[in-house]
């Protein structure tokens, strides 16, 4: 392959030739691709519009929270909304895949999502492609940063709700309803929920007045307190009119998270009348609950601790989750 004459060429020239070959190879890859990207891009957008010919309405173009112009197919059939399953189920839409992490799924929806395959929370692109969605909804901006949005958008039109909307399930449901042409269902679901909450509030006030209650999540030997406005916190304090305990109201506004870590020592100062304990450590024995400090908390002494399964709805938000949380509260506090 290499003649003896060329071998006398100095090493440096060979090196140069090698570099050139590499550069050519790489740039060839690059230029090939640009053409193909365009191809596959247009192919992806023609697919939904073909489906639209059978649907009554037209595809519509909207702007999402990150400023992307998104063309929503007229009647999306294969929707992917990871961690938005509560909203989709409420609207009567079965997603093509459901959110999952290594150690589980959203168990409280397992009946509604029985036959729905799982997809990893970080939306691996090839997995997304394999489900062939025709519309993708993403909850938070940060989950699609640094180019992931553009990649997803190549698979199917992708709409980002944004944190502002996503952290309020009513707004989220309304927006998703508008996107999927199910505004009426969204409105009805919110109305139904509000009515259910109002009735429950009446019963609850009759039973316990406006006593205070804390929601504690025990996971891997650490306690977390729910924020007043999030998940089961919004149900208890906003919808059902219970009083948030001292430890929740004392958290400085700029350090609030949906679930705030709290040490066992700090918990000894908890003055709540009731404690709802979401125990994710049950399988590991949750020995921390045998400690003297835990047993010294007033609500624990009074026997007002209600242990909830970690497969329940208390860690989640949405019409469905919150409805189930209300059922739990009534069952536990209204005798």
């Amino acid at each position: 392959m290499v003649s003896s004459k060329t071998m006398k060429i100095s090493g440096r020239k060979w090196v140069g030739a090698g570099c050139m070959a590499m550069i050519l190879f790489l740039s060839a890859c690059g230029s090939n691709n640009t053409a193909d990207t365009a191809n596959s891009g247009s192919a992806a957008t023609t697919a939904p519009s073909a489906a639209a010919t059978t649907a009554p309405s037209e595809p519509k173009t909207v702007t999402d929270s990150m400023g992307h112009k998104v063309t929503v197919p007229a009647n999306p059939q294969r929707v992917l909304g990871s961690y938005l399953e509560d909203q989709l189920v409420t609207l009567g839409v079965t997603p093509v895949a459901q959110w999952s992490v290594a150690n589980g799924i959203q168990d409280y929806l397992s009946a509604e999502l029985k036959d729905v395959p799982t997809i990893s929370y970080d939306l691996p692109l090839e997995a997304v492609t394999s489900f062939a969605p025709d519309f993708i909804i993403v909850g938070s901006e940060s989950s699609v940063q640094n180019g992931l949005y553009d990649q997803l958008n190549k698979v199917a039109p992708t709409y980002v709700l944004g944190n502002e909307i996503n952290k309020n399930w009513r707004k989220g449901l309304t927006t998703i309803g508008e996107l999927l042409g199910k505004s009426a269902e969204a409105e009805q679901a919110i109305k139904n929920y509000d009515q259910k909450a109002a009735e429950a509030k009446g019963k609850l006030t009759g039973a316990v007045g406006s006593q205070s209650a804390a929601v504690l999540w025990l996971v891997q030997k650490n306690f977390f307190l729910v924020d007043e406005t999030q998940a089961s916190g919004s149900v208890l304090y906003t919808d059902l009119g219970m009083t948030p305990p001292n430890l929740v109201t004392e958290i400085p506004a700029d350090q609030k998270a949906a679930w705030n870590p709290v040490s066992l020592e700090k918990l000894s100062e908890l003055t709540a009348d009731h404690i709802f304990l979401v125990n994710s450590d049950k399988a590991e024995g949750s020995e921390i609950l045998n400690s003297a400090i835990w047993k010294g908390i007033p609500a624990v002494k009074a026997g007002h601790v209600y242990e909830l399964s970690s497969t329940g709805s208390w860690l989640y938000s949405g019409a469905n989750a919150n409805g189930k949380t209300i059922d739990d509260v009534l069952k536990l506090l209204v005798k």
Partner: protein, 344 residues
């Protein structure tokens, strides 16, 4: 570098270097083909071929051209960049432990990126091309700091002090990084955590575009400077005696290594070990002459990282192991073996 007594290089046949580079090139082609066939979606080799010739379904084209190929190219580029950067640093400092990660240059670049992620909302679109520049600034500042701290007027740049100060600076930066990361919201934190573990996350042709110029200019430039590196590798006094403008050349080459590392970190996060093991392997295979050592480094680095990324995609399907973790898992035992062998 004379202690590598029985390396393949020393047992070499005539034309060894050229043969070796061709073999490495071939290996890369093989792994590229394997990598194109590896992933969540089953694509048979014939389907891959079909798609490559432009006849696949839109779905297959999307997976191959938009998801897998850019990732393959980025792995090759980043691996090559880290290995060449590590090789230059090892020769400049005459310390076999020097590489972007041990010297804190990667940490500095990463810190700049994390600062950016923490304080600029994710919705700003300009970030892809901003990241290499930011990482570069971070890497440059860190390198300057280490250089100033390690440099003594009387004795010049002491190899040991350079590495020790590098490790100290890296530890400091990592501590700051952790403090910063703890204040992030969970989703940003997750991104940062995965990023710090070294994942080829920028599977996008725009990342290739952002990275390619750096590699295309700096790798050939360092090869062009190979003879200077050969001389500097002999130590300051000898180099000065041989007539090399030591200080100027060293700064220039240091800047090259830092820029390469910074650009790579911005796309792949903190992937260590490639910059350490790549040059070591290359030196055992082709010897200390930088004319052939640097290209060998580039090829071996690319090969290593691509292999690691392909394995990471395959071992625990459907989840992925960051390539940086895979490199460390493969790299650490090999490195211990090398150490044990060089003692004996």
């Amino acid at each position: 570098m004379s202690k590598y007594s029985l390396t393949p290089y020393e047992k070499r046949q005539p034309h060894w270097g050229v043969t070796l580079l061709s073999v490495l090139g071939l290996l890369i082609v093989v792994i590229v083909v394997v990598s194109m066939n590896t992933g969540y979606m089953r694509l048979s080799p014939s389907e891959v071929l079909h798609t490559l010739s432009g006849q696949g379904t839109p779905q297959q084209k999307l997976i191959l051209f938009d998801f897998r190929l850019p990732r393959i190219v980025i792995s090759l580029l980043v691996g090559a960049g880290f290995a060449v950067s590590g090789c230059i640093l090892q020769s400049l400092s005459r310390n076999p432990l020097a590489e972007p990660a041990t010297l804190g240059i990667s940490a500095g670049a990463g810190f700049a990126v994390i600062l950016f992620i923490s304080f600029v909302p994710a919705s700003s679109a300009a970030s892809i091309f901003m990241l290499p520049l930011l990482a570069l600034a971070g890497a440059g500042l860190t390198a300057a700091l280490i250089y100033v701290l390690a440099f003594r007027r009387e004795e010049g740049l002491s190899p040991t002090r350079l590495v020790l100060i590098g490790i100290a600076v890296a530890a400091g930066i990592n501590a700051f990084q952790l403090v910063l990361a703890l204040r992030l919201d969970p989703e940003n934190y997750q991104f940062v955590a995965i990023w710090m573990a070294g994942k080829i996350w920028g599977g996008d042709w725009r990342f290739v575009q952002a990275l390619l110029p750096w590699i295309l200019i700096l790798v050939p430039f360092s090869i062009y400077k190979a003879r200077v590196l050969n001389v500097l590798n002999l130590g300051d006094q000898t180099s000065t005696g041989l007539g090399a403008p030591v200080e100027r050349e060293r700064l220039l080459l240091l800047a090259t290594a830092v820029a390469l590392a910074g650009a790579c970190v911005s796309v792949s996060g903190g992937i260590g070990f490639v910059g350490l093991i790549g040059p070591h392997l290359a030196r055992r295979l082709v010897g200390p002459r930088h004319q052939i050592l640097l290209p060998a480094c580039a090829l071996i680095g690319g090969l290593l990282l691509l292999t690691a990324d392909t394995l990471g995609r395959w071992i625990l399907q459907p989840s992925e192991i960051p390539a940086g973790v895979v490199v460390a898992i493969i790299g650490a035992p090999y490195f211990l073996y090398l150490l044990a062998k060089s003692r004996a």
